[in-house]
């Protein structure tokens, strides 16, 4: 008996040894969690309200200077920069109009090649006009007076943004590294972390963010942005509890920002705190008229099966997105396409998704286009877009989930299962019902 069982026992022993070895390797592989230095500093605007006030003062000052010297281009550039900052801070399209007008005035008044091409590049980037931004960065590089180090670094970083939005992750990484070598600024670190996140290198992205908090002291708004990004990484991994914690931390560090409030509401939805999230979203819709909040409300009510409430919010959001997409088609096509896809017309969604992907042919835009193509019964074309996103280096659970859906429709069940498994390995909650409610930080 003992002799007979010898070989099975040896096999069992071998399995135990292998398991121990794997456990030991896992232990040695698991690095300690990166440490964040997130102490709230005493300087810099402490709240969203404070920062808006400071930015408004800056804008008012520039407008005052314009009144005094209307033929000088520099005050117009100041006003344009302040308006662009306010647009990004408040999300109000009127500031984008103002920035556009002021930059146009600079172009009229300043002799070429002077006239802050870096600001024009920044404006074009905000309008999702990559060719315009590239043109302005070329003008900047040809300037007779060399710009300061920070501007050169920011120009390299913006070229990195252009590479990212054209789906060239390697080139974007190279340019971000170049920008960091010129001037190791926090904005570059945040861009690198963003690139790492969308490339699926979540641990690297967290390490980059943690390291950025330790190298320098940052203002509350910067720390809050870092906390938000860290939460998004947790969310892309399906760790919705940790994501929620980071979103709350972002609010503590820099209270009152509507973007943080959106993410906090999403975090609550993902953690089953539906009523509290609805309350917050209704407040955002009421006080800031944010169409994202309205879309999220429409979705929540749809999932709850309340057609009347869902349609009220969807209608309100749709009106805003249509206005904005009419004014700046490329800049708001993604939001409008997403809205049309979920609440409106799928043919309209496809048209908008195509505008978006043409303007910025990167992973996220291709995934949105893929979803619109699937909704328009073109799964084969959707797979092509997903393939291009995959080739660019884009990695997310959602990408593989969309791929699985297209493959399922085409009847390629084995490949669909493989794609589902990959999606699950990135985010084990990708197929959970709560993941439906992640409107912002899917990755």
């Amino acid at each position: 008996m003992t002799r007979l069982l010898r070989w099975p026992l040896f096999s069992l022993l071998a399995v135990v040894c292998l398991s121990l070895l794997q456990w030991a390797m896992q232990r040695s592989d698991s690095h300690p969690a990166p440490a964040f230095a997130m102490e709230r500093p005493a300087y810099g605007p402490a709240t969203y309200g404070d920062l808006v006030a400071v930015s408004n003062q800056r804008l008012a000052l520039s407008l005052d200077r314009i009144k005094r010297t209307p033929d000088e281009w520099l005050p117009h550039a100041g006003a344009g920069a302040a308006a662009l900052s306010l647009f990004r801070l408040t999300g109000q399209i009127a500031y984008l109009d103002m920035a556009d007008a002021q930059v146009a005035e600079v172009r009229n008044l300043a002799p070429m090649p002077s006239g802050v091409p870096e600001l024009r590049a920044e404006l074009y980037l905000a309008q999702h006009d990559l060719a315009g931004a590239a043109r302005e960065l070329d003008i900047l590089s040809r300037g007779s007076v060399p710009p300061d180090t920070q501007t050169v670094s920011e120009a390299a970083a913006m070229r990195g943004d252009l590479a990212l939005y054209t789906g060239n992750h390697d080139e974007a990484a190279r340019l971000y590294r170049e920008a960091a070598q010129i001037d190791s600024h926090i904005s570059v670190a945040l861009r690198i972390a963003n690139l790492q996140r969308v490339s699926g290198a979540f641990d690297d992205a967290i390490a980059t963010l943690a390291s950025a908090t330790q190298t320098d002291k940052h203002t509350p708004v910067v720390l809050s942005g870092i906390a938000l990004q860290t939460g998004m990484i947790a969310s892309a991994r399906g760790d919705y509890v940790t994501a929620n914690d980071w979103y709350d931390r972002a609010e503590t560090l820099f209270p009152g920002h509507w973007v943080t409030a959106l993410y906090r509401a999403e975090g609550r939805l993902a953690n089953g705190q539906t009523q509290s999230a609805i309350k917050d979203l209704e407040k955002l819709a009421r006080e800031h008229a944010r169409p994202e909040a309205m879309d999220m409300l429409a979705l929540v009510w749809r999932v709850q099966g309340d057609i009347a409430r869902s349609q009220i919010w969807a209608k309100k959001a749709g009106e805003i997105w249509r206005t904005w997409a009419g004014r700046y088609p490329a800049a708001f096509a993604a939001h409008a396409a997403e809205h049309e896809l979920v609440f409106g017309e799928v043919t309209q969604a496809l048209r908008l998704a195509q505008i978006n992907a043409k303007a910025r042919p990167y992973g996220e835009a291709r995934l949105l286009l893929a979803r619109a193509l699937i909704a328009n019964d073109r799964p084969r074309a959707a797979l092509r877009e997903i393939g291009l996103a995959e080739q660019s280096g884009w990695r997310s659970a959602q990408m593989f989930a969309i791929k699985a859906q297209a493959l399922t429709i085409l009847g390629e069940t084995d490949a669909a299962t493989a794609a589902t498994d990959t999606a699950w390995s990135i985010n084990p909650k990708i197929n959970d019902p709560v993941t439906r409610l992640i409107w912002l930080a899917h990755g």
Partner: protein, 409 residues
Amino acid sequence: MAWLIAVTALTATARAHQAPNSEAYLDFQADHVELEVVIPAAEYAYASGHRVGQDDAAHAQAQRYLADTIAANGGGGLWRTQVERLAFITQDGSQDLIATLSLTPQDPADLRDFTLNWRAVIGAVPDHFVLVMLRRDPATKLGDEPDVIGTLRANRTALAIQRGAAHPWMPFANAVSLGAGHILGGVDHLAFLLALLLPLPLIARGARWREARGGRPTIRSAAILISGFTLGHSATLLAASLGGLTLPGTLVEILIALSVLIAAIHAIRPIFPQREALFATLFGLVHGLGFAGYLSSTDLSVARNIGTLIGFNFGIELVQIAIALAIVPALVTIAATRAYHWLRSGLALLCAVIAAIWVVDRYFGLAETFVTLFEAVVETGMILVFFGVLTAGVIVIARRTIADRPRLV
């Protein structure tokens, strides 16, 4: 400051979820098409404005909604649509409306190509689609692995369902596959077979299993035993399916579990030595009723036709013979060693415990979570047992070959 806000803004673009889709599975029966629909409950509630609930009123509303929004037409006109079963089922945290509809043509001869018309949910939710799959068509398709036929969505609410070319041998092949699949998945039948085969290589003397009796008589006994079992279950399967012989399903299931228990006890201590074939034939009658019950609950088209019934039976036999061919030589080989006593007793005891739990569950009903886990463990365990016995047989043969090899001096 602008760059920071830029970084935040670029990550704040919309990246919404994927909405769950509906699924529709088509099963062709002899005179109608069975359509199983799976619709996410939230989408149903949103699109219909109806409540999701387990009460009769909620079910009646859902039934009306499906009858109003799903239809079929072809051949002689509109087919009769009837909602047969309906429930709201929660699985893995998401709730679905699961229903079975029957789509029946006016004339059974029109059960060929047809158009499926669908408005449920897709009329109200833009990105929602229905994945339509052909699961079973005994005349044109082998097996019941769903094949995607197409999708239905807001801009396409009708889908042409075209049956492939019918092959005369396909129903028989499907029945063989169904029979083979049933015996492979039916752990109680496998346990019965295993428990009966375990003592076959041994001689019973003085109420004890004694020494091995050699390969030839064992194989002959195994052949007679399996023939007896086949005779028994074929008789009742035909009688039940074609002649209408019935016994309460629960009673049949309990008797099957009892047959495993008795066979397992016999494998420990001989109760009916030399009469295993008779026992197998008698309890084969009960197992046949079990097969008939399975057929009536899964595929009536097989049960109503003598040709496909023979095919189903043939599938069962194929698997039984394959298992016996693999396992009996291994048992004969191991029976020559002292270890066989422990192996036989251990496996018989395992079968007895499993059978006892089946008897209790089928009579009294045990907790569902326990039963699910138990069945999963037993299924895996049974596969391991068969492979374990085969491996042990191979090891014994290998050792014997090494021991018999002439040694070089």
